[in-house]
């Protein structure tokens, strides 16, 4: 990837809070036009990364670049090229939707009221309604419409689907696909709903305890990681200390090993240790997320 292809670039970004590193040497490129999902458990460092990216927080070390500029010193004109919807973003409850647009338009360079109202029409939201009378899903959609009104090149969504019921979440996803991606924008978002991620994202990165564990195109990440189930005649031997072994669990005669970058070495090990049957299973995004985020960071499977 050349420099110009990355809309967002994290370069050894590190942020400490007191004695705790919220983010350690986080390095990641977000290619232009991609829909990039940043995954991790609560406290994994996702929001810290996004805050540094928006210039809302200073990194302890390293840097975040956005649209080719240092995020820490982003001029307002550049900021207007980025749409952001914060986690659980609150909208002023007594305002009418139209007023929200006017309010935002007065303070944000590049805000296009016509674009805002076109998005509202498309979403079927009546601009004369007060925020407090909107459903939770509609409020999320209004927040997205506000973020999209300046036609930003980059849209950052921090857990946009949080707290939405399945029907509203689906509507929100449709909007994401329709409004956000179809116009060739870059989207960086966090989520805990992995089935949604699978649908809309083309790239994924998994953070665990502030450390990037894996990143890349969704299909590549999924194809790199498999689970090998080895069955033995007697009790299964202890799991091997092989590079690439992410996680292991033994149950009686069976030993299951989650491995990245090919099952060959592990399969060979199992055969020489008397495995009578080997099954190689592909993992769902959810399975591999769980294996990455419940295994020790010092183990195999360094971030790609």
């Amino acid at each position: 990837m050349t420099m110009s292809d990355a809309v967002v670039r994290f370069d050894r970004l590190t942020r400490w809070f007191g004695e705790r590193a919220a983010l350690s040497d986080f390095t990641l490129d977000v290619p232009r036009g991609s829909v990039y999902a940043l995954l991790g458990r609560n406290g994994a460092g996702k929001t810290t990364a996004l805050r540094c990216l928006l210039g809302l927080m200073r990194p302890t070390r390293g840097r975040a670049e956005v649209l080719g500029m240092d995020a820490a010193t982003l001029p307002p004109a550049a900021r207007a090229r980025i749409g952001f919807v914060a986690e659980g973003q609150t909208l002023v409850p007594w305002m009418k939707v139209r007023m929200l647009g006017e309010f935002q338009g007065a303070t944000m360079p590049g805000f296009d009221a016509a674009v805002f109202s076109a998005h509202l029409d498309r979403l079927g939201i009546d601009a004369s309604q007060r925020v407090k009378n909107l459903s939770r899903g509609q409020r999320a959609q209004v927040a997205l419409a506000l973020a999209l009104a300046p036609s930003p090149e980059l849209v950052i969504l921090d857990d946009p689907a949080m707290g939405l019921d399945p029907v509203v979440r689906r509507e929100f996803l449709e909007v994401m696909i329709d409004l956000v991606h179809a116009e060739g924008r870059t989207v960086l978002f966090t989520s805990h709903v992995l089935a949604d991620v699978e649908r809309v994202a083309d790239h994924v990165a998994i953070l665990h305890q502030g450390v990037l564990r894996v990143s890349g195109a969704v299909d590549d990440v999924k194809s790199r990681i498999v689970r090998v189930h080895a069955h033995f005649d007697g009790d299964a031997p202890a799991a091997p200390e092989l590079a690439g072994v992410l996680k292991s669990s033994a149950r009686g005669r069976a030993l299951s090993l989650t491995v990245c970058d090919g099952p060959e070495a592990v399969s060979e090990w199992a055969r020489t240790h008397g495995a009578v049957k080997l099954d190689v299973e592909r993992l769902t995004l959810e399975d591999l997320f769980i294996d990455y985020t419940t295994s020790p960071v010092t183990g195999g499977g360094a971030a790609a």
Binding site: I177, D196, E198, R271, V276, D287
Partner: protein, 139 residues
């Protein structure tokens, strides 16, 4: 046309879509000349990233299941078995080699393997193919 995907399956979504279309064509639910929905329509209908749909269409085009015409869309192609026989045979052999190697590691002998192969083969349903012996490739 019924195309379904399962986002909680380990199989990549684009591959699920490819398999869906192949199976729809193989069972006659989609016929040569039928038009597929556009990338955008299908992305919206299935609620998936349009790149995923576009990738599935590329694979289907590359495998000769469909063809795309710029500006008019993607259509189910006429079956062209002779065009793809070499490549099909190559992939079949590669998959077979891996399977047999695995069977060997599991301790099966040639007799076990052959017996299993015959049983599985007998369960397959082969559609009648009048043009199967055609040798002339017009492309």
């Amino acid at each position: 046309m019924i195309l379904r995907i399962d986002p909680s399956s380990p199989e990549p979504l684009f591959q699920q879509l490819v398999n869906c279309v192949k199976s729809a064509v193989a069972t006659g639910r989609m016929r040569p000349g039928d038009k597929l929905p556009s990338v955008r329509e299908l992305a919206r209908e299935l609620v998936v990233n349009p790149n995923t749909v576009a990738r599935a269409f590329q694979v289907l085009d590359a495998e000769g299941v469909t063809y795309s015409r710029r500006g008019s869309g993607t259509f189910v192609a006429e079956p062209r078995p002779t065009l793809r026989k070499d490549e099909g045979l190559r992939r079949y052999r590669a998959a077979l080699d891996a399977l047999l190697a695995d069977a060997l590691h599991m301790g099966l002998d040639a007799h076990d393997m052959w017996g299993g192969f015959e049983e599985s083969l007998a369960e397959l349903h082969f559609p009648p193919r009048g043009e199967e012996e055609r040798e002339d490739d017009d492309e």
